[in-house]
Amino acid sequence: METIQLDVLKISGAILLIATFGVIARRGFMDWLNAYRLQSVVLAVVTTIIGYVTGIWEIYIAAALTLVIKSLVIPKVLTHVTKSLEIESKTDANPYLSLRTSIIVSAFLVAMSYFLSQQIPFKSDPVVSVFLPVSMAQFFLGLFALVNRRTALSQVVGLLVIENGLFLFTLVLTHGVSLIIEVGIFADILVGIVISSILLFRMSRTFDSLDVDKLENLRDD
């Protein structure tokens, strides 16, 4: 393929990565959600690009789904949930690592995911070679967010970021051939979000806080 496409791919990949970093860097739930929404939009765009590049029509569907579900439905649901539980601790109490450190760590993670994807034979498929590391990075960053953050809400968002990474990953490697599975994953995630929002609701009822530090009754020491 000609170089413009490749550059476009690269650039979009970079933007996506930046968006992800944005999610990591932001504080406070609402900022998070916006960052996530932004990321999802970028993701949708990327998906369409990939669809264009590979010329497989299912991918457009996937892109559409992404746009609808992730950048509209899920944020709606979450905002609704947070609205309904009138508690002030929507801004994240300070995470375990300071912003500086967490940025450094996430840089390491990105490096790792690039290193990891080095070991995989691509058969010179530009889509894979560009987006595999990006998706892995997204994945690990989401995981890191989960490890690092203290409130349940932010963990949900971390989960969502992970899911984005997964989505991209599957898309890139499978070229959307197995749409059933894509759909299945979507469905799972949706249900997961619903359940977690129910849980959030209950949690705020019983513990009147969404601090996961409150969830330490079950331990062994």
Partner: protein, 681 residues
Amino acid sequence: MIENLILFQIVVSLFLGGAILGLISRNSRFARPMIFIPSMIGSIFTIIFSVDVIMAKPLSWIIPNMLPFFNLEIFVDGISAFFMLMIGIVSFAVSLYSLGYSKEYETKKRISFFGFLFNTFILSMILVAGTNNGFFFLMFWELMSLTSFFLVIYDHDKEENVKSGMTYLVMTHFGTAFIFISFLLGYLQTGSFSFDSFRTSSPSFPHLIKDLIFVSAFVGFGTKAGIVPLHTWLPKAHPSAPSNVSALMSAVMIKMGIYGIIRTVFDFAGFGASPDYSWWGILMVIAGSASALIGILYAVVERDIKRTLAFSSIENIGIIILGLGLSIVFASYHLHALSILALVASMYHAINHAFFKGLLFMGAGSVVYATHTKDIEKLGGLVKQMPWTSMLFLIGAVSIAGLPPFNGFVSEWLGLQAILSSSQIPSTILQISIAFASLPFALTIGLAAATFVRLFAMTFLSKTRSMHILHIREVPRNMIAGMAILASVCILFGIVPFLGISLLSTAFHLTSQPTSPFDAITLKNNGTTSFANLSMPVVAIMLSAVALAVFGFIRVIGGKTTKTIYGTWDCGFGKLTERMEYTATSLSQPIRVVFKSLFKSHNEINTEFFVQTNPYLVKTMKFNSTTKNIFEENLYTPITSSTLFILDKIRKIQTGKINSYLLYIMLTIILLLIFVRLSHV
């Protein structure tokens, strides 16, 4: 061949039947006969079966396809049959005894389950002796432990019983792990768990493997046998169990450990007659003499009648192991005759111990049955109320003290001769060290006598030390009958050693066979002169002859005189009360002082004065003397506490923080990825 297969099946089915009958008896009035009659008949058939095997042919029987990979192989040769005979005789006596003894469980409504366990326990021991496959051996072995565990904690309303049962279970499982390892090593060499393959190919094992197999088996079976320092479960479990059970356990079950050791050494570990293997024997000699001495030293200061017996079991096991070790040493130096002598000594002591220890535990059981106390400080004077029990107990005590003309003497005589013969080992260092090993052995014999004088005297003689046992009665007839059987066997094996020795030499296929009951056990020097002789029948005759003679003589000289019954000489002080008698503790006090380093005995005296300033008018004086078990303190406690410390550190990872949990996952994946990158598999 066929007929002894049928016999074996009869045995198994009888005990199974007893177990099931026990369960369905539902504590009814007929529960006891329903339980113990089958076990008695089963025991009789066991005796018949084992004798048949010893005299005629070994039995081998295979049931395939019950489980994948493993067939249930039964193989009963002379050695197994010898131990089965032991089981049969003892369990017959004990079952008879239990008919009366277990009445109290009937009242407690627990008899039916007891019967189930009792029968299963005996059956499992028989099967352990008869199994020929590693897997099933372990299965029956553990079944034996499990049933005996439940029997030990049978009075589970008492907290300490459950505790000691727990100790027993854990220790024996620890032992089983070692046995398992030794089987695994054999499996590694042969690719099969069948004992036949072990037998056939064990001589070609590499030497290191042989040593490993031996050591792990020795530790494993030694735990069951109660070799110091793996003995700690024994003095806990035996007192907790009902006395008929402790009789079975102490008389027979711990012998299964001996059986395992014999099997391993002579069958699986590929023992070869070369000095390379002599260290096995040395190890056993050391372990044996240590067990003997330490066991009896704890026995002599013990207050609990059953725990005393338990400690003395440790002692006797030590003696048995010592004999085995000697026989191995001799064999490794090609001294065939001597190794036979040592083996006979050890096995003879094994079967003797089965008899008199069973007898003694049943006697102790009768005492507990009558008085409901195990503390000899509270007993005494029972000889008047329980003449039969005391008589039989005395026979047991004299036999276990190794005094002629009872069976204990014969086996210890043989043992001592075996030690003396160590002078023929062509290695000075071994000669001297074994000679030194005789020192603890002799000391043990002395202490054993002391222990049982003390036990018998404190339990049965002089004034009773507590009022509540004044009005007790002799135990029921069938209990006495049960004890009488074993007592008579003790005397028989003492006066006619020919029985035991010829039995042994047929069972173990030993070359030298005694021919007639009356010719003496003779050990010859390499020259013609006789090294030592013993002919117990003649000794018995001489004893009775002398008795008659002296009786007649005294009568002739002294003529008729009268006996006056009068109070004991009290220095004109007044009535002697039971509080002035010598107590068990004070009786053994000199020994406690001599060996104080072992007991860590700690005395405290607190005195009250009438006038605090005046130290001459003493109102009350309390003396309290305690001895500790140094093994628990210096060996077991540190091990357990350090283990728990480590465990405590490990389990701290369950912090309750979800973040840390997620972090674990993240780290795991990263580490594994690095690991994969680095390792080139």
